[in-house]
Symmetry: D4
Subunit: 253 residues, 8 copies
């Protein structure tokens, strides 16, 4: 069988071969990357700095590096203090609200997967950067371009052409407000498009709901959607598509 047994971890747990340790309410899934191709990401939102630090330390121990999303202020300081004191390097993106801590020399293995990211507005950058951060952890190369919404459709021409020139395996298209751009792009290209609605907007349908329904209702072929502002989810979906394509490229060689 070309794929590993999907139940490998479950079977091992049933047979008592994997322990499931909990600390400060956190139970790390150390096998996630091997099993699903995606790293375990720590969502900072709604967690105390202490909880984030515990989880981050555990993942540093087993994986050598860790990505924290939706993280600001106190939590960034707490993680930085704790982990740099044990020799970790810290990279914090304030706009995308992500933080990567890593033991020196633990770079992600490049897969050869390629993803292009486009945004409709300049306000959609944080979500795009969140997606880019997790794609980097998955070993993909990423190209980003911002602010080409349909109010001035001609602004789409140059960045879309440039993006395709990199021959991406998948596109992520982020949009708030009316959420129109993913469908327009999807109607122009033959690549799978991951549509990422953002909470930019106001009034009825604001907070991303108008953008989400537009993307779900699109009459353009070849598009699927993640939740509002879910840059991590968009990144992992696009990364799995790109890494599948990349593995076939290299397998064929």
């Amino acid at each position: 069988m070309k794929n590993p047994d999907p139940f490998v971890d479950l079977r091992r747990a049933l047979l008592g071969e994997i322990e499931s340790q909990e600390e400060a309410g956190v139970r790390i899934d150390r096998e996630r990357h091997a099993r699903t191709g995606a790293p375990e990401v720590i969502y900072g939102q709604g967690k105390s700095p202490d909880q984030i630090v515990v989880a981050a330390r555990k993942l540093i121990e087993s994986e050598g590096r860790v990505l924290v999303a939706r993280v600001d202020g106190d939590a960034v300081a707490a993680i930085t203090g704790e982990l740099s004191s044990v020799g970790c390097e810290i990279a914090h993106d304030t706009l995308g609200r992500t933080l990567v801590a890593m033991r020196p020399g633990t770079l992600p293995v490049p897969t050869g997967g390629r993803v292009g990211i486009l945004t409709a507005g300049s306000s959609d950058r944080p979500q795009a950067l969140e997606a880019a951060a997790v794609l980097a952890e998955m070993g993909c190369s990423v190209s980003l371009r911002f602010d080409m919404g349909i109010a001035g459709l001609h602004r789409l021409v140059e960045p879309l052409r440039e993006t395709l020139a990199h021959d991406p395996d998948a596109l992520i298209v982020a949009a708030g407000m009316d959420g129109v751009l993913p469908g327009v792009v999807s109607g122009l290209v033959s690549l799978p498009v991951v549509a990422l609605p953002t909470s930019t907007g106001y009034g009825f349908g604001g907070d991303g709901l108008g953008a989400l329904t537009t993307m779900l209702q699109t009459c353009s072929p070849g598009l699927a959607v993640v939740n509002i502002d879910n840059g991590i989810g968009a990144g992992i979906m696009a990364g799995l598509i790109a890494n599948r394509a990349a593995s076939q490229r290299s397998a064929g060689r």
Copy 2:
């Protein structure tokens, strides 16, 4: 004052100069056209054939012609039977579900107003035809073009150019599903666009709600919205815009 007193009918009613007769639960507003520039339209939906016939007969008496919307089957037969027996001509559009009954020779006075109507899909035709019907009653000339949604954006080029060649005073753009077309058109032209969401669609945001939110959230300038499937409302709004422009054209001459 160039505009008539907006309270003319209310003042006359307060002074007892306008009677307010009711028959079969219907109280016709005979002064509507003079006061608002729009004809009183009978909505067939939710009314019994008898009620429609009563209202239609009254309007024939005072106006010479009447437009009935959302009308099918039994009601069409009832109106046709009643009104053709008193010498009216009947024109019924089965797709747009409108019916016009008129005394011979009672054509609407052409105003010179011009409106262009575009639809995103072929399923949006009924709403477009409903709008066209009320525009005809308001004396406007109308050009219609169908099925140029953004899944194949190039299909928009020819019909939009043709529509603008008629130099319209306003556009109506109808769309269901993702409701994207009005915003795309609005970003390309310098005319006021009346966006008409339709109940074409399915799943979450279907029944026109996804289209409505897209249009309300649009980042394109120069667009306002009527309710889902409200072809009559879109028509009257566009007609008032066009008739205002036309009156200025002729006034200047």
Copy 3:
């Protein structure tokens, strides 16, 4: 053809004649005013002061003036500091939350278009002022009157008569709470009415949703709606209607 080719900018972009430069995530649509008759407005909401300053500077360079909406405190200070140091004049409306920066002598060209603005309550003034600000940029003359909601219907008489005495080409009627005023006005006049729901209200249907549904459901003829609190959108729609009428006036002369 009396209208310019709607695809002129798109065609030029496809042929490489328009570059699409991005700075700080912002990609200005310099051709917007010529193409759509509406200026590019910068929405301050959800943008950092830096992003606003970048966009404002670019538009000052190409257009000589710029309108920023939804702008307060730090952003106002940042823009004022940056742009007054390069010789711009700054006009800030704290109630309407708009700011205009302009090179000396760059006034909008008056079009002769005329718009009347009415509000149901005194709390709807900010949205009305936002609409007035963009209308001024479009060269229209504006008359404003506040607080004539239907709880005391007689309060409508005098301001509506005064408004009509200016012979406007279009009306904007703003209302929160029950959102009734636009339909009442629309039933009294023969002008196109742009209905502007505001987020004044409380309880079920508050935040403008009750007002929005009232306006969408209105049985009065001749009204279309923009999103909740979307003063900019209402202003541009009314401005396009008025400028179309004004162009026909002057063309006829």
Copy 4:
């Protein structure tokens, strides 16, 4: 104490003085009229003809008469067959969908309470008639007038004046679509207004939700709301107001 003990029936039940018999799933509240001033009404909707007949027969036995609401076709036939065979008279209102069965000579005792009912549209008649039916059972006199919505505000003048000429103790104002009429009336009179939203309408906010929010959000003083299409509830509320006022009139004499 001028009011009876509100817990009289509950106390009697706790002491075993009231039995609670069930038949075919129905447990009649024979004491309702005495305790609450409102008759027990049988809702036909969602009940089988058999269930309705059982409940109707029980109420005929204890009260001499019974009002059935939301009743059509088979159920009307079944009730008529069953109850006319035991000497009852049957009055069926097809438009209001109500049926009254009564033993000869069991007329409601007139209370002297007076209620005026107004509707915005001709489609709101069924709900108004449902309210009128329960008011008749409560001994109130009722005046009804239809179709005076705000699209032609002058149509309101004559019927509202006529209604007030009867010196009603309370008004019921029914409206669908935008639901504006109750607030307009409430702003003109010093009587309590029971607002009755109806499910007339379409698109977003249709099915009465737009009307309901308008009435809940009204800025007019002196108005409370019942559920969509709840003519029975509006009638009982207005009947209790009117009967309270009537009891004070007669008590004073």
Copy 5:
């Protein structure tokens, strides 16, 4: 005709006999109390202290007293400073968030109307106090009792009996969470019940929506609803009912 002409103010306005002055965006309806039996109340929420002061000063001038609702902190200080300097007395209820300013000796004329107010929880007191404040302005006497929700049904017995001992003309019953109390009370008494949902609650249906639907769906007779937290609206509705009954009492004597 026993009622005054409802259109008296509208007619006077149409004939130019009432001016409609606006100051700081506010257009006072001085005739409201005479026309509708309810005072004009100033909603503080969403208004600047300056706006409130302008409106309060105008009403003091014409009416001698004024009720401001939803008012806290800065606005209370501003009104107190402004109006006490011109000899007004100020009464501020911090829990109910209302403020009354009055010229000495301008007490409301007692009508003899009587209203009982009950609340389901202790958290519903602010809304009950808001209703009591406007009832006092309307000349009604009020009895208040708190915290008798259905989780301990026996707690209802004593306060409901005490309330009825005052022979009220109407009841206001306030409840948040599940909103059950108004229906329970309505099923026990023969008085009209104004149901007042409050925004006490959490999770799905919190913010008063669960309470509102319970009240709209109630199967108890004799209840109508105002919007969530709308203590003013509940007070005016109950006040009109009570004042109508009281006027009949005194008329009969």
Copy 6:
């Protein structure tokens, strides 16, 4: 360990000891009753008669009996034809829309668990009967009583006392409309209450949503909720509670 390993079937499947056969799109979970204490129920709704017959036949083969829910007309005829021809007995409850097919002699083993079921209205009987049907399959004894809603609270006294006289281990309380009864009962007893909202109702909050929110928002202790009209779910929950209590009774003996 007193409980069986919850993963027994999963472990056996992972080791290949349980086959997972599919026929006509159906994959029966034969181990469900042993593992979860609840039978596999076939939902007829949305399935073709053929699909139901396939699933029913399989369960008859392995279990000897089968419960089908939401089943009418053609499906009942198809199942009856197919299964009575192979010697099964068929019991069909038209009101509760359930059908039980069984091999002669395959009665459920009585557990001694006891459940009481109460409904607020007579229209809630179908859901109560659906719950009773699945409880019978689980070996519980059931007592049912109908129509004791809070509009006439005294009607609750006798049936609730009778129900408690059977000393039930759990109660199911079904209610539509305002959904009040479960909270009232829960405030009176010390038993766990499974609240079952039904889709009886109309207008805003109809279709069970008002009832559901009432039950979720209840301030009474000791109540949990199943989905609207989910009689099967309510029955299984109450059955598991009762069977747990019964097992402790018999274990202790």
Copy 7:
């Protein structure tokens, strides 16, 4: 009769044997624990520290101990100050936001009931701790385990086995986001599961609504739901189930 008369307190109140004293808007239900098996819990949310102190003092007087939920900062300080000064011990759980005040020696009587609590994520701990707190007041023993959501299904194996090893009478399973865990657990065990949705999440369906619908729609047997974040409600429901089972255990012995 094995159960006490459910109407005992209501009957005593009707006969005047229970007084219903109110202080600071609070009316304590001293009989709640005896009648319903659940303690009266004070919800701190939306109450002033003063109100909480009044209620807590009253319950200390009658019960000797009191549980306060949703309590932080000032209120904790106020209660601690007030009640420790009269000799109470205070236990405050900052994560679960609960506080217990007790007279020395007033421990809850152990019932022998056993409940297991599981959470899907580490962010669901506060709600689980809230449930645990009320279970402790009800005399139940509780086992808690955190963070075993389905993204890494194998993590469920060990904690679920450990939980079942304690032979619980009921389970509480808390989950936010997609709310999947309760259904997965319910499909594996034969115990009643109380599903507790939490407000952990983001985007569409966030704030617990997605989790709530998942739990209401579950196809797993044997699960009922409480409102979002309603740890108290989940605890009382599970406590009643467990205490019923425990009473049968001890009764049998």
Copy 8:
């Protein structure tokens, strides 16, 4: 550039090289397959048989074959009659509601792309078959397995292992009700999962909304969502992923 210019058709249209013919309201996008990799699919829903026949005939002319979705009864007969008379072969899947008409010998070119489809319930088959139909048109090979929902988790083991044995490039996982299966699968495999919510369900969150929110809220990595019942959309998205991977396989060889 490895990808074709995305604007090729738009550029050709702007230069007048592509005509945009409309017939019966339909404007076919003949270039769609080449441009986007997805065929133009005709949605039968909401279209008259005549409209479908016109569109189908046009696509047969240009493409040789056509896929019609959501098609039943009269439309199937009409298409079959029209197109078989011109030599087309017709394949109609009644369960999936799709129809393929083709000129003999016009089979889709196999791409080597591989997709696995799993469903949670037996009621989700129609949507899965719809997805399979469009995948066949895109040249992919498909494996389908049904009914392995989480109520009996062990049923997932065998079909998921079998599916992976075919080494698919992407998975489609369809589920209604609680919509849990896609997240469970996504947590077990390293393939991109297209989640397809279906409208199977009832009560609150029924009609697919509960399933949709579950999938959007999933905490499992590597999943994106299409609209409720959108089998075509899921198929095209999975097909593009698979065809991208397949193109890399063959390119490498």
